[in-house]
């Protein structure tokens, strides 16, 4: 039966990820209200909406941190609706957090390595006793981590514990941690929030470059300049409902969007 569903899903949409009628209720509030959306492979889709419109909640439902009441999430033709967060990330969906989470006492390099190791090897026994295979995987991981550190410009700080980094650097590190397993889909929660203009520009360039190289992004962002610049497509949420979807140009002109943001 599951095989049938798998084929049916692949045939019906061809999207990398499809959210179908997703609903998440908290006490007295419907934070996400029957939202449908798709992201195709290679796209860069932005999710926007006023504060409290349900963007982060939708992220948390997709990545398994919150349990949705209705609807489902289909990733690469597979239903991942109620799977655990750690299983979902291993299937190829990485994410960052709005309030920036890194492991404070681990070094910058270890933060990257710990973000990759579960993708590489699951066997506890071999992991404990440093089997040769693990040593090889560890070397590969370090190599990949150093490439990413070069990219985000934190190479010199690789041995520092992450808590010594300033906010913008932590943000870049978290971004690199999301990229290191080479995921199929990256969810970024406000990549441009809280950092200076130079850093915003740097982040934007990284995202655009990676997207051009074929990486798929779903981005929650409040900085409209960034959103308009980078997005192939924009989805607008308000009070948990999808009120508009389209190209940046179309969204800019959409009366429903203007109303949600500025009122009548």
């Amino acid at each position: 039966m599951s095989e049938q569903r798998l084929i049916a899903d692949n045939g019906s949409n061809g999207a990398l990820i499809e959210v179908q009628g997703l609903t998440k209720r908290f006490i007295g509030v419907t934070a996400v209200d029957c939202v449908d959306m798709k992201v195709y492979s290679g796209e860069l889709v932005s999710l926007i909406g006023p504060n409290g419109s349900g963007k982060t909640t939708l992220f948390n439902c997709i990545t398994g941190f919150l349990r949705s009441e209705e609807g489902r999430v289909v990733f690469r033709g597979r239903d991942i609706t109620h799977e655990r967060p750690d299983k979902i990330v291993l299937q190829g969906i990485s994410r960052t957090f709005q309030n920036v989470r890194v492991f404070p006492s681990l070094s910058v390099l270890d933060n990257l390595l710990v973000s990759l190791q579960q993708h590489q090897e699951e066997d506890l026994w071999r992991r404990t006793f440093h089997a040769p295979k693990i040593q090889r995987l560890e070397r590969e991981a370090v190599e990949r981590a150093l490439q990413l550190l070069e990219m985000i410009g934190l190479t010199d700080l690789r041995e520092e514990p992450a808590h010594k980094l300033v906010f913008g650097q932590r943000k870049l590190l978290e971004f690199a941690c999301a990229l290191i397993p080479d995921p199929d889909l990256v969810l970024l929660d406000e990549p441009a929030a809280g950092v200076g203009t130079a850093m915003v520009e740097q982040m934007k360039q990284h995202i655009l470059e990676l997207n051009r190289a074929g990486m798929t992004f779903l981005v929650v962002e409040h900085n409209m300049g960034v959103v308009m610049d980078i997005s192939d497509r924009i989805v607008v949420l308000d009070h948990g409902q999808k009120i508009a979807e389209g190209s940046p140009e179309a969204i800019r002109e959409d009366p429903r969007v203007l109303e949600a943001y500025f009122g009548k």
């Binding site: 750690d86 990330v89 957090f97 890194v102 681990l106 710990v114 579960q118 404990t128």
Partner: protein, 338 residues
Amino acid sequence: MTALARARPWLLWVAGGVLVLALPLQYSGGYAINIMINTLMWIVFALSFDLSAGHVGTVSLGHPAFFGIGAYLTALLGPRLGLGYLGNTLLSASLMALLALVAGVAFFRVREVSFAIGTLGAVIIAQLIANNAYDLTGGPLCVKGIARPEFAIPFTDVTLKVIHPLQYYYLLVPLVVFTIVLYKAMTSSRIGRAFIAVREDEVRASAVGIRPLRYKLLAFVVGGGIIGALGSFQAQYVTVVCPSEIALSYTLNLLIIVFVGGAGSLRGVLLGSVIFSVLPRLLEQGGALSIPPAYQQVAYGLILILVVLFMPDGIDGQIRRMTDKWHRSREVEVGEDV
């Protein structure tokens, strides 16, 4: 870096090993050897506790239950099953690992404070049962006359019966070595990195594919198993098991050793174990400070409070900061030379 400096950690281990093996030969008198056995036991106990408390960040107050129940298992099942020392130890270890698995699945559903309180409740219940189930445990009258370990020496008719404390000391050494090697292997590998990730941020850990429950259970089960083995040793060493072996005072001792020594650090826990096993005995022995045990616990409590307030990463943290400073000042000197 010079070759010697690179070899130093290794040399230190060898020196430590020689000391551990040779010291009791020098001081095999009754009192000293008992302190040394006690020290080794606390090393095993505290390292097992630290796997959970220091690395994964799950502070259980119930670890004495593994020790006490492990001891009772040997006391009650040992004679019936006719197992030798190794059999008894392995039986206690595997059953306590199993208990840790079951208790872990139950208690790890709640977090931090609730977890600590839950495990506290469990150890109190275990002690109540030991005290009141007369038919099984003899209650406060204890289980007495547990057989001492015997080893048949291969190719001869001779059986070696372990009686003298010195023999018990060397019987304990393999468990100590096993514990240190396993501790080191687990915490300095990828598993150790995942442990720290879980301790620092469970949500973030999940987001990089680490399942927090799995690593909490791993540390808890390994620790529980080793402590079970230690309990079995205790039963065969003192040949009496009383309800007081499931004691909350052990929990206090563990907290003191691990958090004053330095949670999550092998060096810190080793130092803590040695200091808090040897120091109180020396003070008693010297008559300098013959304080009754109850006051000793009050003093421990005070030390714990002061350390948490003023030395949050313990003695090991202090040492690390001092050596860091020293290295940095040397770098500066070298830098000026060039």
